[in-house]
Structure formats: structure tokens, C-alpha cells
């Protein structure tokens, strides 16, 4: 499968070319254009029960779309995300990777999409009780609002709760106050996530809550 991410930080999209017999799984509504001869089937995201769990607990949709190229020549399609922002690709090599709810966009068929318990701390931080766990072999595309930056963590690092997008399974997440009680309330920072261990995190350079906070008084 050939895939390129284009469109800059603000309006990233994925250009995919499916070879004969190949298929790709995407979030519903992620396809923006495609060759007319590609086959689309919608299926439950891992069965009805698991799908429902994922929908209500992981912030993902109940269904997942499968695009399959049954013709004998390569066919192309483009995949987009609903928010303005960047898309990244992670190639899994028999490993596990965690994403925040809503970040998942598409993956190769060989990748398994699961749901992991993120802990109550994550829930208090309004990040959801569960996180998306992808595993297996193949490419996964994910995105968020804002540009995405990779940051190597070795030891401890603090990330504002609404800015964490994805992280290696070797990292542990804990919740804490940004400063003292006064600072955390009036400084606008509130709760932050303390990431510890060794591995990489992906952060988004904008958060939807601060966008809303900026825009709402003006509407």
C-alpha cells in the first residue's frame, strides 16, 4: 500500500493507493474521494458488543469502513479527518501503541484496534476512562486538532491533559495539579498529566477547549 500525507499542518489528508486485493479500514466519513471501483463495506468495529463499548467508552464510532480493491489495477482514494489539524502515520511492527479517544483515523487490515482501560485518573482529566490500543503489524493513521509534535521522554515530563495524542506503551501516565491549588484554579492550567518512563509521546499544538474559550465570547 502506498500512502502519502499531504496538505500541511492545518488540513492534512492521506492519499492512499490500494494495490489489487488490498484493503484499508477507516473511521466512518473519513473517505473524501475515491475511485468508483473500490468496494466499501461497513462492519461493526470488532463485533457488536465490543463496538458498542468502543463507541461509548473509547469515543470511537460503532462502525468501521473497509475499502477493498477487487480490481486488477491499483486504485486510489483520499482520507480526511473532521478537525483542522495534522495527521501522522505510525508503522507498527508487532507492537502496541496507545492513542487518546478520537485520534484514530485509519489502519491497514492487519492492525488490531482494541480498547484499553486508561485508569480513573484519565477519566478525571476528561480524557476518557479508556484509550485506543492498536497492535499488530502495519500502518496506522491518526490525527488531532493542531500540528503534531513528537517528543522523546526519558524520566518525567508534564503534558497538559488536552494536548496528549498518542504514546508508547512503555510510558506511565499520572494525574496531578499544575501548581498549587490557587495556581491550578486561577492560572488556567488545572490538571496536568505526568508522563514517566522512556519512550515517545505525540502532542497536539492546539487544544479544542482553549479554542472554544477564545471563540465563544466573540460569537
Amino acid at each position: 500500500m502506498k500512502a502519502n500525507i499531504k496538505g500541511g499542518h492545518a488540513f492534512s489528508y492521506v492519499e492512499v493507493e490500494l494495490a489489487p486485493g488490498e484493503s484499508i479500514m477507516t473511521e466512518p466519513d473519513a473517505m473524501s474521494s475515491m475511485d468508483a471501483s473500490l468496494d466499501l463495506t461497513a462492519r461493526f468495529n470488532g463485533g457488536l458488543i465490543k463496538g458498542l463499548l468502543r463507541k461509548y467508552l473509547g469515543g470511537e464510532s460503532l462502525f468501521i469502513s473497509r475499502f477493498h480493491n477487487a480490481t486488477s489495477t491499483p486504485r486510489s482514494m483520499t482520507i480526511v479527518q473532521p478537525t483542522p489539524g495534522e495527521i501522522l502515520c505510525k508503522e507498527l511492527n508487532d507492537e502496541v501503541y496507545f492513542m487518546q479517544p478520537g485520534a484514530f483515523l485509519a489502519c491497514e487490515e492487519s492492525v488490531k484496534i482494541g480498547l484499553g482501560f486508561a485508569g480513573f485518573a484519565s477519566w478525571i482529566a476528561r480524557e476518557g476512562l479508556f484509550r485506543i490500543k492498536v497492535s499488530g503489524h502495519g500502518k496506522v493513521w491518526f490525527g488531532a486538532y493542531g500540528a503534531l509534535l513528537e517528543k522523546e521522554v526519558n524520566g518525567e515530563y508534564i503534558v497538559d491533559t488536552s494536548h496528549l495524542v498518542a504514546y508508547d506503551p512503555s510510558l506511565r501516565l499520572n494525574l496531578q495539579l499544575a501548581g498549587g491549588l490557587f495556581s491550578s484554579f486561577f492560572g488556567g492550567e488545572g490538571l496536568v498529566t505526568r508522563v514517566s518512563g522512556k519512550g515517545k509521546i505525540i502532542i497536539q499544538t492546539r487544544s479544542i477547549s482553549s479554542l472554544a474559550g477564545w471563540l465563544n465570547p466573540k460569537l
Binding site: G8, H9, A10, P84, G85, E86, G146, A147, L149, K151, G155, E156, Y157, I158, V159, D160, H163, A178, G179, G180, F182, S183, F186, G187, G188, E189, G190, R194, I203, T205, R206, S207, S210, L211, G213, W214, L215, K218, L219
Partner: protein, 360 residues
């Protein structure tokens, strides 16, 4: 023969308006280095890129490199006399413009040959320039920082040396080292609240060693940096992102005609002093050198230097005021710099607002 031994040190600081990415590209081009090594060289700065030059040659290097938006420091012979002694035989053997061996004492071994190779490239460019005027070497005192994600979603990462404090707009901190300690300060009282800025500022101090902080403003758009040397800058309310303690931030009453009737805030922020200052906006930021006069829509001003006089007026007659959609504009006179944003908040709110569900 002028025998002073001067080292050229690439400080790693960038001139205003130069992003880290651009700087990498410049180093890549200037020193003919592979992209990866150029990045490494900048990231590990300050680095000595040339050793044991006479003052004239060193000055040529400085000019060439600074023309490309990078900062260098010339280290005089006084403090490095001992070092020069050691280097003397080598430098004496080779003409000053082609010193290759004594170059990168601090560089990793694998990077050394490449950098040495490109020295010659620099010297050719340097000699091609007009004879350099000896200028006093200046030290750039600013903090190390980088801006990613420009111009759509600019994100600022600042490196704080131990003990250093940074003032940051409330709720803009996105990531930080555990070395940093946050304190919330109430600044400017009521007038600050009226200016549309948050009443609170957060102060981040690197208490237990060096630390890094990542700052994400609320608006989609760009960030700019300015190193202030005692000048004064007026910022539109909401443009302030972060500054070092040396910068004084106050609110300034614009007066009813300038503020109220332009549809903008009644207050401007006045920033003065010495240190780093970062501003943000909704949309990309364009820098304009104003010589005579310049007209900007009131909703598109980010900041301007003190030397500029401004007044609010209509673009045309009353008919165009109401029907052209231009409304009031800001007329600048005098000489100075002006920063404008490529989008305006009012226009966005007007466009997005019409799609909101109406309450019955």
C-alpha cells in the same frame, strides 16, 4: 601581520523572524552539510566553528553568517590566550582562511570532516564581500527557543537555564519539564482584565536545574519573537504569549475614540524593557516596515513599535463606511515596524456565528 587569535562561535540563537527550520536550511546551504548534521550543529550550539583567526577574517565570517539570520559571537584572544598558544603552530602553518584541522574541537568526531570541508565555502563567500568594518562583537543574551508548526498552529518551546523565570499567558502551558515550578500572579488588576487579557499570568521558574517549556496559544495562528533592547512595543490585547522578567507589561488606555469606535478593545498592552518577548495572533503574522503612512483594518493589528503615530478613521465616505464592509481603519504615520495578522477575529466570528443553531 595582525596576529590576534579570534574564535568564531555559532551561538545557536536565531535572528528575529527566522524559524529553526529555516536556520537549519541556512546552515545546510552555507556549510554544505547534510540536513541531519546541520540540525545537530544548531541543536548543540553554541559551537566553535572556526578557531584562531585574525580579526579581519573573523569579522568577515561574522558578517556572512549574520546576513543569513544566524548569530555568532567572536571570542577575543584575551581570555583564550593559553588556547591560542597551543594552536599557534598549527595556525601558523596554514593560511588563516583555510584552517581545517583546528576547527571543531568540541564537535563529535563524525561531524568534524564535513564541517571542516565547508569552512572553505564560507571563506570564499566571505572574501567575496566588501571589506568588513571592524564592529564590536555583541553578545545575544536571549533564551534558546524554537517555534514549530508555523504558521498554522505555532508552538513555542523555550529552554530555561537554571533559576530563569518566564512569564506565560494563563492556560497556555502545554508541556514542561518536572524541573519547572509554576506560580500564578495577578497582574495589572482591573485594567488588565478590561484589556481582554486574562487577569492572571503564570510564572514558570526552572528551580532544580535547566528546564523546557512548551507553550500553545489558544488561537489557530502564528507566533513571533522579538528581542527587546530597551524599546517599547504596543500590542493588541490578547497578543501577549510569554516574556522574560526584564520585559515590563502594562495596559494602556487608548481613549474612547481610538478604542471604542474602532470596535476594538479600549486598551493596548505596552511592553518595554530588555529581554525576549513572544506574541501570537489568529492567522499568520506579516512584518511591515512603515516609512510614510500605512493603513490597516483595526481587526488586523498585532503590534507596532513606539515610533508610530496612529489614528482611527474611515476609509472613504459614509457610504463606504456602512456598505463596503471596511468600516474603520487604523492609519499609521511615522517610521517603525508594524505586525499584522492575515485573519481577523471579528470576520471569523461573523462567518462561524451564522451557522450556530438559533435559540427559539
Amino acid at each position: 601581520m595582525n596576529n590576534t587569535m579570534i574564535d568564531v562561535v555559532l551561538t545557536g540563537e536565531l535572528a528575529e523572524g527566522i524559524s529553526f527550520e529555516q536556520a537549519c536550511a541556512t546552515v545546510e546551504k552555507l556549510f554544505k552539510l547534510p540536513a541531519e548534521q546541520a540540525r545537530q550543529l544548531l541543536e548543540t550550539a553554541p559551537r566553535v566553528i572556526k578557531r584562531g583567526l585574525d580579526s579581519e577574517t573573523a569579522e568577515k565570517y561574522r558578517l556572512t553568517i549574520e546576513k543569513n539570520g544566524l548569530k555568532v559571537r567572536l571570542q577575543g584572544d584575551a581570555d583564550t590566550a593559553a588556547k591560542s598558544e597551543v594552536l599557534a603552530p598549527e595556525t601558523a602553518a596554514v593560511p588563516a582562511t583555510a584552517v581545517t584541522s583546528a576547527v571543531v574541537a568540541q564537535a563529535p568526531v563524525e561531524a568534524a570532516p564535513a564541517i571542516a570541508r565547508q569552512e572553505t565555502a564560507v571563506s570564499t563567500t566571505a572574501t567575496a564581500l566588501a571589506p568588513a568594518q571592524p564592529v564590536a562583537a555583541t553578545d545575544f543574551a536571549g533564551l534558546k527557543f524554537r517555534i514549530d508548526g508555523s504558521p498554522d498552529f505555532g508552538f513555542l518551546t523555550v529552554q530555561l537555564p537554571p533559576g530563569q523565570m518566564l512569564k506565560v499567558e494563563a492556560s497556555a502551558m502545554a508541556t514542561m519539564d518536572t524541573n519547572l515550578v509554576m506560580k500564578t500572579k495577578m497582574k495589572g488588576g482591573i485594567s488588565r482584565m478590561l484589556s481582554g487579557e486574562n487577569l492572571f499570568l503564570n510564572e514558570f521558574t526552572a528551580e532544580n536545574g535547566p528546564g523546557e517549556i512548551g507553550i500553545a496559544p489558544a488561537t489557530p495562528g502564528d507566533l513571533i519573537h522579538r528581542y527587546m533592547r530597551g524599546e517599547t512595543l504596543y500590542l493588541q490585547s490578547g497578543a501577549f504569549v510569554a516574556s522574560t522578567p526584564g520585559i515590563n507589561i502594562e495596559t494602556k488606555w487608548q481613549g474612547f475614540t481610538k478604542g471604542f469606535f474602532s470596535g476594538e478593545s479600549l486598551f493596548l498592552i505596552r511592553a518595554s524593557g530588555e529581554g525576549d518577548l513572544w506574541l501570537n495572533s489568529y492567522g499568520a503574522i506579516i512584518e511591515i516596515d512603515v516609512k510614510d503612512g500605512y493603513v490597516v483594518d483595526t481587526g488586523n493589528i498585532v503590534a507596532f513599535t513606539e515610533g508610530l503615530e496612529y489614528s482611527i478613521s474611515k476609509v472613504g465616505g459614509y457610504k463606504s463606511l456602512f456598505f463596503s464592509g471596511e468600516g474603520f481603519v487604523c492609519r499609521f504615520k511615522g517610521e517603525g515596524k508594524l505586525w499584522i495578522q492575515t485573519r481577523s477575529v471579528g470576520a471569523f466570528a461573523g462567518w462561524a456565528g451564522q451557522y450556530r443553531p438559533t435559540k427559539d
